[in-house]
Symmetry: C2
Subunit: 298 residues, 2 copies
């Protein structure tokens, strides 16, 4: 399979779904909804939705699966987008550029940006409990909501970001760095894959294999993010390059150097591929996605 | 019934439930969890949980109802608490006092306060989808999640706050003020009552009556909040009195004057009581709560 064509096709499926689900920027809350739409449609790669869809289709590739799982895909992207908006705030990482565009608070102001994040986070759970998602069984939906809430919340992404902020300018050990990565980035990526697994009625063996895949891919993703921050120019990256260095953040390259970090990223991908040993060719998109994650440029 | 004793008793039930559900401030995220616990346990009146419980018990007062509905009560309070933390931020209302104590960002810093809010909002949905809530049927839980997500999100509380912020210093008309109140405060109060109704398997007539009650009580609540801001001292109020005036916000008293505003609050309570006409004495707590809302001091 050709990964670029596959990614474009899957991304389009996600964009089309968002056109159905997303509120229009009209009426009394037009400004607020516009601020949410700005960050949602500023050009994300849609990695989490695509992983969710690919995980579901690795088990059950029939065409109804797509309809079942798309609200879940979009909920995941709402949560990812909210986290970027809040992370970029002046009180947090204070970034002015994201995906090559001014960040949300630069365009709409800080108060509106905080609320855009709050709105997108809440919209995720609105979507998962709405009639859009009723092709899934109630029990599946509750399990998916639980997986996503745990991954996005204090035991996961929010906790990871809190620890990251608290660690700025400090000499942190490797264990703490791993915790930050696992929670801040890894948890939602793993949740995306597990949500897909639940939607496709994965059996225990499949679920555990996909969980292992998710953890390995999440780790690879964050290691590569660290590398890109060191190696890229701002133009390539679409956000301010070197902002980790600026914020004096511990990263894989700052601890292990670039060469060793690349090796670690490749090992994580190997582990992701190994976890799919007992899956057939329906899991090829997952395999290609794991390889893509370490070769991506931004 | 004696409303003060009733409120104390119900509040204690909610506090006890929180002790079971709430994360402990230990481990790697101790600071973050402590920041959430600070605002959660700083001394709220627990109005939304108490209304939720009272609505459920107006239909079905048996003892199992309490166990069924308590996770929902606590989820509502998590969302209310997150909204206060974010509303108080320097970029929003910039308040330094809340419930007589320094606001979250004053104690923990802005970044931690944003994350405490994000964590509490997500925790609400974690709770609703967790095993704590499994005494409710899956379909009931999804309906409750949907009601709460819509009320808390962009069509409700978040949208109302966005409109409120955007209206600061502007001459807004009464329609806009009503929208702000209905969304910012009324929506979650109504949702609390409707969530209780769903948990108690309300029939259509009961559901509609409780919806009318919720809207009227929500309106009364916000009108009285406006009045308290004008009339109280900072000490009585526990937050900075006159902060609406400071922020040049349109309020009921600024549009209608204090006397007319009091009349409107009483009319809203009358409507709340009228909506309960076909309920028996099991709805007495709801009746007393409506009356309490206009007589409360803070």
């Amino acid at each position: 399979m050709e990964i670029k064509a596959y990614l474009n096709e899957q991304r389009q499926i996600v964009e089309d779904a968002f056109q159905t689900y997303m509120l229009e920027a009209k009426g009394e809350f037009a400004f607020h909804i516009e601020s949410m739409r700005y960050s949602l449609f500023v050009g994300g790669k849609r990695v989490r939705p695509i992983l969710c869809l690919a995980a579901a289709q690795a088990i059950s590739p029939d065409s109804t699966m797509k309809t079942k799982v798309l609200p879940v895909c979009c909920a995941l992207e709402c949560i990812h987008t909210y986290s970027l908006i809040h992370d970029d705030l002046p009180a947090m990482d204070d970034d002015n550029l994201r995906r090559g565009k001014p960040t949300n608070h630069v365009v709409y102001g800080e108060a509106a940006a905080i609320l855009a994040g709050d709105g997108l986070l809440t919209l995720a759970f609105d979507l998962l409990s709405s009639s859009y998602a009723d092709k899934l069984e109630p029990q599946q939906r509750l399990q998916i909501i639980s997986i996503i809430a745990k991954a996005a919340g204090s035991p996961g992404m929010v906790g990871g970001q809190a620890l990251d902020i608290a660690s700025e300018g400090k000499n942190i050990d490797f264990e703490t760095l791993k915790t930050i990565h696992r929670c801040k980035t890894g948890a939602l990526i793993t949740a995306a894959i597990l949500a897909g697994a639940v939607a496709a009625d994965a059996n225990d063996t499949q679920y555990q294999a996909l969980e292992q895949y998710g953890k390995a891919v999440g780790l690879a993703f964050q290691i590569v993010d660290d590398l890109l921050d060191v190696e890229s120019t701002t133009e390539e990256l679409g956000k301010e390059a070197g902002s980790d260095v600026k914020n004096n953040k511990a990263t894989y390259p700052s601890i292990f150097g670039v060469k060793q970090t690349k090796k670690m990223a490749n090992e994580a991908v190997e582990e992701a591929l190994f976890s799919l040993t007992h899956f057939d060719e329906k899991a090829d998109p997952l395999r290609e996605l794991a390889k893509y994650i370490v070769t991506r440029k931004k």
